[in-house]
């Protein structure tokens, strides 16, 4: 197997992009990554597109072929990868394996989603289609609803409080306000969403015990990377970022069939695999992008990946340990919470953000000092399909 590096990264601002089609967004992000890699007019051998809902939301299929045509990557191999909200991560994995195996040299991986094409009702229904079609979906369950039930159990078992969730929400929105690619560029105020009696309208219950600002927004957006063998990457001007390890694991479709529904086994297993491959451990990580579609997930994942012991993640967040400048900065980009969560884009966007960090090219107020290693966790379904990547800066 060959070592594989990210040599180009790019994304477009997430948000509500009425004027762009899904193909526009995929195309813009791809060009940014290709230009960042300095590919010029050269093509890539293959393209993998992570996307969950084009068939349902845009009534468009085979989008990878369409993108290859639009960008004139012809005759590159092209595949669309659908794996729910982990589609982006799965697309990266496919690209990684293709290059590592020696089959392709240059691969473009792009993830994108246009969710605001439809109303909130339809978008909620679209996301809910990943629940079990007989045992869950007919009841009107939503992903925030799954997260609400998970949060109740996590609170009871580990003593997570609303204060802990609030700390994550405030932190990620504060960082999102500094990120020009973020969907919600607005810092929140503790009084406005929690302490004041007016918070009952500003931050109402969304899926008890979770409130509106515990949830990520519904976003449009796309992100892309170009990868190649590390040997070839070393000749380029920008420092390559090594994909030092990756892991992926699945778990039961329904939460109730897990022996302990608060145990996100797939997160633990995927991360362990990624760390083993990378020959690193959690304490070696400089910066992490964890899948905080709901604030509880950032807390639970920070424990499951090994940054904190079970039951300590919430307290660590409240104590500022996961802030920019803290012990382990988590979601410096603003995370899904503020950057947004165009489902198919997220897994790629996380890698793009870590690449920027490891190349030390972010502004001072977001650049983790001397960042050498990064971790991403892309969480599909409700933890039934999870990917983790460990990335490493390579000095030239």
């Amino acid at each position: 197997m060959r070592d594989v590096a990210v040599i180009g990264a790019g994304m477009i601002p997430f948000g509500r992009r009425d004027e762009d089609t899904l193909m526009d967004m995929l195309s813009f992000a791809s060009l940014k990554a290709m230009d960042d890699a300095g590919l010029g007019d050269k093509s890539v051998d293959a393209v993998y597109v992570g996307n969950m809902g084009a068939g349902m939301l845009q009534r468009q299929s085979a989008i990878a072929s369409s993108l290859a045509d639009r960008l004139n990557l012809l005759p590159a191999a092209a595949d669309t990868v659908e794996n729910g909200p982990a589609s982006g991560g799965s697309a990266v994995k496919n690209g990684l394996l293709a290059v590592a195996s020696g089959y392709y040299d240059y691969v473009l991986v792009v993830g994108g989603e246009k969710m605001r094409e439809v109303t909130g009702w339809r978008a909620t229904d679209f996301v809910a289609t990943m629940t079990h079609p007989q045992a869950e979906y007919p009841y009107g369950i939503t992903l925030p609803g799954m997260a609400g039930m998970f949060t109740r159990l996590y609170m009871e078992k580990y003593g997570v409080t609303r204060e802990h969730l609030l700390a994550v929400s405030l932190k990620n929105q504060e960082m999102g306000a500094l990120n020009p690619f973020a969907h919600v560029e607005m810092a929140l105020d503790r009084d406005g969403i929690f302490d004041s009696p007016h918070a009952i309208v500003n931050n109402p219950v969304s899926a008890d015990p979770l409130h509106l600002y515990d949830l990520c927004p519904v976003s449009d957006g796309a992100a892309a990377i170009v990868i190649c063998p590390l040997d070839m990457a070393k000749k380029l001007s920008k420092p390559p970022v090594l994909i030092a390890g990756f892991g992926q694991a699945t778990d039961t479709h329904t939460l109730q069939e897990r022996d302990d529904p608060t145990d996100l086994k797939a997160v633990t297993l995927a991360t362990q695999q990624a760390f083993e491959r990378a020959k690193l451990k959690p304490s070696d990580i400089s910066v992490a992008e964890l899948h905080d579609a709901f604030t509880i997930l950032e807390i639970a994942e920070s424990e499951h990946v090994g940054f904190f012991k079970k039951g300590e993640g919430g307290k660590a967040a409240a104590a500022g340990k996961t802030r920019f400048g803290g012990q382990i900065p988590i979601n410096v980009s603003g995370g899904l919470k503020a950057r947004g969560h165009p489902v198919g884009a997220t897994g790629v966007a996380q890698i793009v953000d870590i690449t920027f960090q490891l190349r030390h090219e972010l502004p001072k107020n977001r650049q983790v000092k001397n960042a050498q290693t990064g971790l991403t966790v892309n969480f599909g379904g409700f933890g039934n399909n999870v990917l983790a990547f460990v990335l490493k800066r390579v000095e030239q």
Partner: protein, 118 residues
């Protein structure tokens, strides 16, 4: 007339693990043969939530949903007959019934409902 709860769960013939929904191989021992069983008795509420911002197809303001475990250990999701979560507690007894849970294409879709017991 009270309808029968139209859920079938599956008990592994080898290790006895109970599954709902269906799997082709046991989640415990990968065995492929199961006895069909019906959920029995009342149920114990394992977790719950009240969801606002409902998906397409639901016109009401909110839905109370939870997962409960029947007396014979079948676990399933259902809608809870409650106006708020204030009256609910993890571990409380709920009485199951089989009732319309949504309307699709003009037809009632039946599913589990749980009524909390004081």
């Amino acid at each position: 007339m009270k309808k029968e709860i139209a859920i079938t769960a599956f008990k592994c013939k080898k290790c006895g693990r109970i599954h709902y929904p269906y799997h082709d191989r046991c989640l415990g021992c990968k065995h492929r043969e199961f006895d069909k069983i019906k959920p029995e008795g009342n149920a114990k509420l394992l977790t719950y939530t009240v969801i606002f911002n409902l998906p397409w197809g639901f016109d009401q303001r909110f839905l109370v949903i939870g997962v409960a475990e029947f007396e014979n250990h079948v676990k399933a999701m259902g809608q809870i007959k409650a106006d708020s979560v204030d009256q609910l507690k993890v571990g409380m007894t709920v009485i199951p019934s089989w009732e319309p849970v949504r309307v699709q294409y003009g037809e009632d879709v039946y599913g589990l409902k749980f009524e909390p017991v004081e």
